[in-house]
Symmetry: C2
Subunit: 392 residues, 2 copies
Amino acid sequence: MRKIEAVDFFYVSMPLVTTEGDGSQDALLVRVAAGGVEGWGECEASPLVSIVAFVCPMSHGACRPVGASVLGQRLESPEDIYRIASQIELDSMDLLQAPHTWSGVEIALWDLLGKVREEPVWKLLGYRESFRKLPYASQLFGDTPAHTYQQATEACRQNFRAVKFGWGPIGRGDLKTDLEHFAAAREGLGKGSLLMVDVGQIFGDNVEAAAARLPMLEQVGAIWLEEPFHTSALDAYSSLSRRGRVKLAGGEGAHNFYMARHLIDYGGVGYIQVDCGRIGGIGPAKRVADYAVSKGVTFVNHTFTSHLALSASLQPYAGLRSHEICEYPFAPKPLAREVTSNHLERDKEGYVALPNLPGLGIELDTQAIRRYFVPVEIKLKGDILFKSSDGF
Amino acid sequence: MRKIEAVDFFYVSMPLVTTEGDGSQDALLVRVAAGGVEGWGECEASPLVSIVAFVCPMSHGACRPVGASVLGQRLESPEDIYRIASQIELDSMDLLQAPHTWSGVEIALWDLLGKVREEPVWKLLGYRESFRKLPYASQLFGDTPAHTYQQATEACRQNFRAVKFGWGPIGRGDLKTDLEHFAAAREGLGKGSLLMVDVGQIFGDNVEAAAARLPMLEQVGAIWLEEPFHTSALDAYSSLSRRGRVKLAGGEGAHNFYMARHLIDYGGVGYIQVDCGRIGGIGPAKRVADYAVSKGVTFVNHTFTSHLALSASLQPYAGLRSHEICEYPFAPKPLAREVTSNHLERDKEGYVALPNLPGLGIELDTQAIRRYFVPVEIKLKGDILFKSSDGF
């Protein structure tokens, strides 16, 4: 019987991490070993905190470290992954960080199982075919409308047929400047490209502030307005969704299936965006994709880091032909590009396809991981609780 | 101008932590210093992970450590606490553990502000009066119905007029045994006492399994059924709330105002239970209390640790006379009792009142903290990132 023998964490970081809204400045890679086979996954956000949630001392029966539910467990089939996930839901119920930690481990388990069965993960999920996706360039608004215009033309030049602008100045200055940014984005893209706008929760739950931007977003033909509010501000989402024709998008903050479902059921989003590195991995993401289909909502991945994370994030909706758009890191930091040896490159028409390879189909570059490796050592009462190693 | 100069964490733990569902086996105490005054707070659950979320390296602009939004900030009024909370919501948006960490710090800030103004926290929250509460003894179901009966008689003997039984065997064996436990609890309590039942999310989102327990819960006069499902399984809560006369209770897992609100709006709970050590502290808990009042729902604290946490958890609804029930750790581990010098003792009629003292009105016992202290040292790249000290 195949058992999970080891889980190793590789915290990698750029030498300098800045306050820009760029999630590719660090990463937490996870390697799982079982019966002579390895799988790799990636956790989104705050590597050190996620490591600690795997190794911390138990606080009580419903607040155990994630590791307690993983190490030594049987791993023969997808059902084993679901079983471990259920156990973590109960045994790490009070450990808030647990879903982020588990996400990377879960992804690695799918990768491992795919390698054992010599099948891509999307086949293990029940899809017969994997359809190529239309990547949108994900980038920040410029500091000025002129800068935003420049960014838009640059994305076009690089053969992107869809571009998302996010964060930056939007909602932080006056309405007029925001509208100028929206207009500059469209002008730079020209008529043929898809335009999305992401405002990074800047309006909290202020529906009027967000609604003031809707007419201009309609005018420039934005296909969605992303994260106008706090992930949990369902009432605000619901109100705004009824105020205009621009569809709302959200869900990257969901750390379980239910939170994504609520954005559909109660928030009225038209696009549900799921980050496999946060929601608990590929299993719950697939469950969201199934639910989205049943509700006529479009599934989109959320990915801002490596191509390992990108491959993981596309698996849950690989077989959904009409859910065509995908997020694609436009200009990630060198780290995010270099930690994998192969990449999901765009074809001549600008599309991207999942590899027809076992597991996630992504090879890690251990030399690159070593270059960016951040060694961690944690002592409790003078004894070593955790010490990471970049030995492969 | 008063500024937050220091935030210190004190991780305390029983020498042996077991898998029983008893949250008083460890604790994370937080001391904040500003302008020569100290305040104390407590974070619920997984001390080590919460410490790390305060000191970890930034991952990007929306994934900064909690400490970055706290240290050096102005602290003159409640508005300053709300302002810091809003900043954390944006700047630590992607750091899942952040609300648990911030909760303890936030509580300490209210305590500190109360001491500066020489007023109890409930007055700072706008209440003119603090009403005494009826504590229920919070304890686990026995291993057998006979054991449950014994526990019930013991709680009565100790002058509790309300008793909540939780977790243990419920939902893990057959229906018949569960019903026997419910009956044994009522039999042990006699007719005069309030009985509540807490099943610790055991049914996931299986409405039928939970509904099968409703008739017996009605028969024994349980005033609420607590946490039948995952905190986020709103649809299951909603379905079950329409299936019987027993009111549902939940909310301890809420790590922001919205999650508690959703249990009211979409889940149909009759009692909303808030843990100040998780929801982001006293401010968001007060917001839930106000919302509960507006919706005819009853607010109840969730507390399973020290009397510092207990005092914090009662402040948000101290002025709500008709929201009378409160959770009261029945038999906490010695640690939870010993870390504070004074306690919220029950009066002759079995009620408990908040002290009319500045802040939370609770003194810490530094000797006891030293006895249970767990020293933590974290190194990144060989350099010390965090090292705790029990020096006072």
